[in-house]
Symmetry: C2
Subunit: 148 residues, 2 copies
DNA sequence: GAATATTAGTTGAAAATGTAACTAACAACC
DNA sequence: GGTTGTTAGTTACATTTTCAACTAATATTC
């Protein structure tokens, strides 16, 4: 007979993943948008610099899988908020190194605290092992896992 | 000393989840956009009707957690493609019931096949138990889990 | 049953994103 | 050392999304 079971939209990965991502993003957005009027790409750039230290826009694009125009605009916005500054590189004036200012650093630290708390809260409802399984699956799907 | 470990951006849930969701969405987009020129919200609306049968725009909004303007525009687009039609409701002319046309139904069936294959492929690399853990975690985070 | 409120859906303007073309600086080749 | 190609980043324009105001229909309240 082989009557196919109904397709369960909510179990379809691209759908479920997006719903989950949207739900969390929206929540975390309250923090960075509410407190600092930042956009999604802005906190991402800020976090890249805060977590991994100074780097060029290109490197932010690669690590964050962001399009260069998005990064370009986010950098301009963060710069006008005085959260980051560019330093010209002596031997290649095409790019410059981005670095958080003192103000940017403290915004980062504040948001980092929030992010840790947020993450802990969401993961809190999971047992440790499931959390690990979940994490690994996510990274693999995102193509971010180290070995693959 | 309690020196805090560096914050790992790629393990931060809102970030990792978005990266994963983006990766899959982009891939699946090739199918519905490439074959039928549909937008994200359009396939979602199409799938809601295809999976769960006829319903009003309002109901699509609630089930899919989509804003009414998005749905309104997606419905208009699908209608102009002749993939769905509206039926006026006798006793309340504010809303109408949406239903896939024959053409819409067959587009749905085609995409559903693709979706099943796509999903199977992504899950294929996971063992069954992990897949289940992953699924449950996702639904819970998305706030879509039945019991909560 | 007229006045007000609510609901479903649409429309228009503003913000954000994506795409493509562009500029400026460097590299490579002859 | 000048032509061609490549790279980092910006700018301009089209598409999409978001937000707020609007319309039309029904519900509520007095």
């Amino acid at each position: 007979m082989s009557k196919k079971a109904r397709f369960e939209l909510v179990e379809f990965l691209p759908y479920a993943l997006n719903q989950a991502a949207d739900a969390l993003s929206l929540e975390f957005q309250h923090v960075y948008k509410g407190r600092y009027g930042m956009l999604r790409t802005e906190w991402r750039v800020l976090f890249h610099l805060g977590c991994y230290g100074e780097m060029t826009a290109k490197q932010v694009c690669e690590m964050g899988r962001l399009h260069k125009t998005k990064v370009s605009r986010a950098v301009a916005a963060l710069e006008s908020k005085r959260y980051l500054e560019r330093e010209e590189v002596a031997n290649d004036r095409r790019h410059s190194v981005l670095r958080l200012t003192k103000a940017g650093q403290s915004v980062f630290e504040d948001l980092e605290r929030e992010a840790r708390a947020f993450d802990a809260r969401v993961r809190g409802d999971m047992n440790a092992q499931d959390a690990q399984v979940f994490q690994r699956a996510l990274l693999r799907i995102a193509g971010l896992s180290s070995r693959d």
